[in-house]
Subunit: 537 residues, 2 copies
């Protein structure tokens, strides 16, 4: 399989050159380096990719939903068509289990088809029509129509922890392409081969759909330089990023200080607090402990929705719960982490908590020796509410299979903990229905802090659907007014364009009187799929 | 009437103190200073307003659409209730004609009632429901529901050129309050009395609706300090601004460099290009010239949608058109501008073009002497396409009753001019239907450059409705993905919040199975007002 990999960037329908800075895949489970070498995209190639994308926008932005749907479905089919070699390479590059790679591939293809369906149906453009009234006094009313349109080339940064679903053909790419934007990928150094396999699948799909050269490019970069140049490029109009807080903040700053600032949709960090209320812990101690253990250690804890904070009442039941959870964590085997950087960062964060005077550490097997081989064990910590509230470092994400228990002694402390939280992707509450009713104040606080509130479940496992919100107030994301998962994600890469008094024939199909697409439209404030008859012009 | 004005900030239901830096209204038509003195809000009062707003958010954010609708309608009624004193004060402070103030008041109240209707109906929240499927394989499907929720206290900056419709009770305030956010106003120094009258109307409305203290505050500031402190305040979650490019950019930088960056919706500058195609000018020379003259000089040219650039073909017809327009501009009387700063800036910009070697100046009456008395005359300039394309200063907004004709000699030059444009609020095309069909490439370029394209009309006079887009790519606005006029503006101050597996009774009404609000919802991807029956839990 490796012989099929070229090790160069994909620049539209051509390739980068095998020159300059290099990077290489790495198997965290074995320590083995993986061929081939990958070469950083040169400045010239970055610029070429941007120019091709800008040119491709002219025609791709005007393609029908049907045409874009065919392209997205073809990408999904091509990815599925890679089969075993994709699983093998992704497992090698990430240390994730084959079953996880298979299910993530399934999710990736499901996302592509979901966006295909969305644009084929077409109502997502939020078509709005206010018909003219030439007789209105004092001034006649013009005919005003608007709909969402793509914005231009989008730069997408791959995430290390989702080599498929948040990488080359992940949610950002699917939503940007669905909206009608060319995409330029910044591959993650952690899985260059997986990126090339998927990138090739997209390129082949574009070719077989006869799409314009440059609708898709994929850039490799040995350091941060390539990605930063991409965000600075004047032809790039928006950025999608999933990764660290430091990385996301750096891109936000670059984008904000461009001569033309552009939006950055960065998903950065989240500790996803879990609140367990007393009766829930009494009724379902074992079940919740087992579920939480599974959620904390899933994928070696390398999920943005990993529950890194558990808030519960200081009492006999919660001590039993903690001890049960502690036993499971202690007995957990070792997990392979994604790469040495993540593994060492986890090890350092665990060591810091261990040696902290104010944190109680449950016995665990994690060690620096393990970390050097990209291995990690679960780790559990405990502080009281006062300690948590007075030590800001305890709010920081520890990326890996670890969580922090915080116990409170009063309802006021519980609410104070909630108020003290930064923005996160999710919050979870375990409780009886009565308890939920009694904690409406807690829920009201959480509604301001997170994008999704989970009841009697766990935050990992984000459902890909219409209603999902995978986002949240800063610093969980750069802009809490959007989602990066689900059909709502398409609006990040689109903007409304308005046509006043246009001849019917020159309007986009979505806005024509006869509604040839049969989409749902807001006509004079009423949602309807009917054609517009009352048109004066 | 002046005796009713106190000259202090409105801090929820209390007032600021008459101490510290002062400012004062000014009548640009007479040069007379207007009482009373207005005192800058102290740091303590700014902080108090923010804290009250944060506290008010707790209950105001949870009010029903009906309750918010009553509040918005009460504000409109209270503003109408001020009557003549409001017209007199606004005319004194702005130099605008009484009829303009009356129609702007009408528009302001119409906007408030439009948002009232929107939230009373309720479907704006984009309720989405994906019902559970416990039998789905391999993993059961959770119940996922989401809707738009308010984001927190919003800072709104008043605009000098719209003392009502883009000021204290303007579009930003109406949309932010409609979404469920408290609002803190930064009054414009140019019309402090008008601001106090309208601010009092809002405060009275809040009181009579028994709304929480702090749902509305209004701050005065003698310099930029008060506004900047407001944008820096950690409890402020978004900013609405209409004003200069320099002012907007400064606020964007402040907001982006906060520990918690927040979105700024700044509408900054736009020259609103008008393209007149040859057959249109042949058929309707006089009509277009008269319409353009009216649009350029409306409100002394002090509109964000003022047409500051007119592109036409270099030929006999366009020379006739230019000469006709030039005559009208020359014969125009003088206009009173809003304040000395704007008047002097206009005078300076006109003088710069006059003395520029590469610009042809049509004879006009404008002079610096006029400017010193806040008076302005219309001014018309002309360059050829080459000159325009090579002199970036010609892209800059001249805020006042002036426009620049650019003549081209080929279709390629015409398209090059369009491609050369920055982002603007609007573009206008005059042409026959055949010409429009022949210029689809031009329209495709303009769709990337502006928020609204007007056919055979003029850009001034923004219709307040559902389909309108008053926005556009940077630098027209800070974020071209939104509108500041029309019902779509509500989404700038809202974010989606998602509820997973929630008990039906604890969901917001908009997401309950039985759909008690009767709103339109996306249930499993289908728009419906029906209740949800297929619920497993």
């Amino acid at each position: 399989m490796a012989s099929e990999l070229e090790g160069t960037s994909i620049i539209g329908y051509s390739r980068g050159v095998a020159r300059g800075e290099k990077l290489q895949g790495y198997n965290p489970a074995t320590g083995e380096k993986l061929g081939p070498l990958y070469y950083s995209a040169s400045d010239e190639k970055i610029n070429h990719a941007a120019k091709l994308a800008e040119k491709a926008f002219e025609s791709y932005s005007r393609m029908s939903g049907r045409e874009k749907g065919i392209f997205l479905r073809r990408i999904a089919a091509n990815i599925e068509g890679i089969g075993e070699p994709l699983v093998i390479r992704a497992v090698q590059e990430t240390g994730l289990a084959p079953a996880r790679i298979q299910s993530e591939t399934g999710r990736t293809c499901h996302q592509l088809r979901m966006f295909a369906e969305l644009v084929e149906e077409g109502s997502w453009v939020d078509a709005r029509i206010d018909v003219a009234d030439p007789n209105r006094k004092p001034a006649s009313k013009p005919d005003v129509r608007s709909m969402y349109r793509p914005i231009g080339p989008v730069a997408v940064f791959c995430a290390s922890n989702f080599p498929l679903a948040f990488s080359v053909a992940g949610g950002d790419t699917a939503s940007a392409l669905a909206a009608g934007n060319p995409v330029i990928i910044n591959a993650h150094y952690s899985h260059p081969g997986t990126a090339e396999l998927v990138g090739t699948a997209i390129r082949e799909a574009a070719l077989s759909c006869s799409l314009p050269d440059g609708v898709f490019s994929l850039l490799y970069g040995a350091g941060y330089g390539v990605g930063q140049k991409l965000v600075r490029h004047p032809l790039v109009k928006a950025v999608g990023f999933t990764g660290s807080r430091r990385g996301g903040l750096a891109l936000m700053q670059i984008a904000a200080s461009r001569p033309e600032p552009i939006p950055v949709f960065a998903e950065m960090s989240s500790i996803n607090p879990v609140f367990i209320l007393p009766r829930a812990i009494k009724d379902r101690c074992d079940e919740i402990a087992a579920g939480l253990y599974g959620s904390v250690t899933l994928g070696a804890g390398q999920f943005c929705t990993n529950p890194g904070l558990v808030v519960l009442k200081e009492d006999e039941e919660s001590r039993k719960f903690s001890s049960k959870l502690g036993d499971m964590m202690k007995q957990s085997g070792t997990f392979t982490m994604l790469n040495p950087g993540i593994s060492l960062a986890y090890s350092r964060a665990v060591a810091e908590r261990e040696k902290s005077a104010y944190v109680r550490t449950f016995p665990h097997q994690h060690s620096e020796v393990l970390a050097e081989r990209c291995q990690a064990s679960a780790a559990l910590f405990h502080v009281d509410a006062r300690t948590f509230l007075t030590h800001p470092d305890l709010n920081e994400e520890v990326f890996g299979p670890s969580t922090l228990l915080v116990t409170h002694t009063s309802r006021e402390e519980l609410l104070e903990i909630a108020r003290h939280l930064e923005g996160h992707l999710t919050a979870t509450i375990h409780g009886t229905e009565d308890e939920i009713r009694e904690h409406r104040d807690l829920i009201a606080i959480l509604e301001k802090k997170v994008g999704r509130i989970v009841y009697n479940g766990f935050p990992t496992g984000v459902e890909v659907c219409h209603a999902i919100v995978h986002g949240g107030p800063f610093p969980a994301t750069s802009d809490g007014r959007s989602t990066s998962v689900g059909t709502g994600a398409i609006y990040r890469f689109a903007r409304p364009v308005c046509y006043q008094n246009f001849p019917n024939s020159e309007l986009p199909d979505e806005l024509k009187n006869e509604n040839p697409r049969g989409i749902s439209r807001l006509v004079d404030g009423m949602l309807t799929r009917d054609s517009v008859v009352n048109r004066h012009q």
